[in-house]
Symmetry: none
Subunit: 208 residues, 4 copies
């Protein structure tokens, strides 16, 4: 049973930090890290600029926090995802990737656009997570290539090509458009499957 004496002060701290993250994410996604000022973030949060520094030591730390937690959550989400065991792994991964990226367009956009604005050590940390994530797809492609299920030339090149293709959705898809998420997802799944010569209709694993 959790303590009932939780101090509201704790809540307030988390709340403000949370608002800062949210405001920064939106602003960075729209205008870019370098073009957003701490004043803009503070004003969005409804606080004076100096107050931001009670929660993040520098502007760079906000960016690092956003990018690292995005990557962390992405990896966690994949780990907890339990696709139907008979679904083809590439299809499972692609569906997961598409859905996650459509739902988090801002995080995705920032994570791809602001890499160059990370200071060296922060970049290294974020890049390591990116590699871990891409390695999942590379592993799936290697397995599928090994057992003849997928046709491909090079798992790493294919990884990059497919990730770029799928992640690109976030740059153009608008929920307000004519295409539903499900439709877009299905079209891209078909592209992915064909790209490795996996029959789109036959995306259930054969149990041998």
């Amino acid at each position: 049973m959790p303590s009932k004496a939780q101090r509201p002060v704790q809540g307030k701290r988390r709340q403000t930090a949370s608002k800062v993250r949210a405001a920064a994410l939106t602003l960075f996604a729209r205008y870019g890290y370098a073009a957003v000022s701490m004043r803009q973030i503070a004003s969005e949060v409804g606080v004076q600029p100096g107050a931001l520094y009670n929660h993040f030591p520098t502007k760079q730390d906000i960016l690092k926090d956003l990018m690292l937690s995005h990557m962390g959550e992405l990896l966690t989400a994949w780990t907890s995802a339990k696709p139907h065991p008979q679904t083809d792994p590439l299809v499972a991964f692609a569906r997961f990737h598409i859905r996650y990226h459509m739902e988090r367009a801002d995080e995705v956009f920032v994570s791809y656009m602001e890499l160059r604005n990370l200071e060296a050590d922060n970049f290294a940390a974020v890049d390591a997570e990116r590699r871990r994530y891409e390695a999942i797809l590379t592993g799936i492609l290697e397995d599928g290539a090994a057992n003849g299920r997928y046709a491909l030339d090079d798992p790493k090149v294919t990884t990059r090509a497919l990730i770029a293709m799928l992640t690109g959705i976030a740059t153009w898809y608008r929920a307000s458009g004519t295409l539903s998420r499900q439709t877009v997802e299905d079209y891209y799944i078909n592209l992915v499957c064909r790209a490795v010569s996996l029959e789109p209709g036959k995306t259930q694993r054969e149990n041998g």
Copy 2:
């Protein structure tokens, strides 16, 4: 016969403007438009900041110039490209796109990353060019779909997916790596072909 009365002064003017473009391109690609100052550009050119304003009225105009001329040259290059008439049009386009984008990594990078830093009217101008370019691919896909040569769900969605995939090469390909340009090109062509169920080996048009 070219005019013999070319004034060297004209040459000098063009030369400096040219250096400005080159410096800005490199710097924007590396650090981003918002993070690069006119002072940095001037210093790279070997000139005082005020001198830049003899060639470009504002910083924004440098960006607009770079992006518009990149799109213009891209369209011109496609128009002048004379692929072998028996080559499949999708393959021809993809090969053209890959080669052009591998050779101009900085232009491509800037053109994709700095769209949000364009002021409204400049964005409109650049975006119109982008649409013209993508329309070429959409047209090819529509034709191919109509005559049953390509399998695809939606030409516009496929256009975006393929463009994202191919353009992504610029973000990871390094000439210093282990893969030759030709190899990368071939791998991507295979991906493109399979993505629309065009037999990679059968990329010559049948003449009917």
Copy 3:
């Protein structure tokens, strides 16, 4: 008999105030009043900045407290000093001054350097104490000049000259150097004596 009912709470209050004084003294001496922040002091004390305000209403009050109590203790120390009655008064004073200032380099340094950072009324209070202290020496010089023991042109000018000379020790003397305190003291006493033509060897009052 001291009260046995001393409350530890009182002790704690005094303790923290004391730590604040000590931290501020060290920091002001090293970096100067204006260059030291309340945060630095708090961090040195091991407390949050806000807590300082339970002990001193403003940063200025810390400085005033340090300087006024330094002057107070200096005057008290002189009053309680009981030099050998046969010692020449100038020599007694100079020895006292040298010893006191060598032992309290930080207090001395702050008291001489930060006068300009005192607000008007605080300056007046501290300056009054300084005058009281210097008046002691002026009195000694006037007496000695009157009875022909010392040769000097003007007691006030001589006071300032000697005080500057003696206080200057604090700016260069390091206990870690090659000269012992006693040696330095003796050398300066000789300088003082000669400066008023008092035979260094004859520093015992003749009792008439």
Copy 4:
């Protein structure tokens, strides 16, 4: 014959830089380096804050410039000083020091008070000059002690004592007071002479 085509622009540059130095000197002397803002300096100069950076890269550089040029000018002035050859060297040096320091109270004050605000390398540069200057006096004292003209215990300690005494004039002397410069100078000369047992009346070198 100097060029007549001197550009007034050159004059303007020097003029502003000069005003900055003057304003900074006055302000640093009155309020201390740390307590003076670039805005205050700019406002005193009659310019926007950013303009200061056309002349000094940082605030620290203004301080360095002031202190280094003060020391440089001091050393130059001593080198060019041609005291009467029959004047005792200690007296000549002391007179020079007193006069120079009375005329440049601000420079002197800043140079003694702001040493701790110099960054390490700037401090080293300034301190080296200070040592050079003090070495002049030490040399004079050593010579005089060697030929029995002065009585003293240790040339280095005596140097510090005398310099502190003489430099201290700047902290209290006001031209508006009752004592003339000449009177103060004479009184201090007498103190210096007696401090090394040099008969004040006998300050002409005996030519042997």
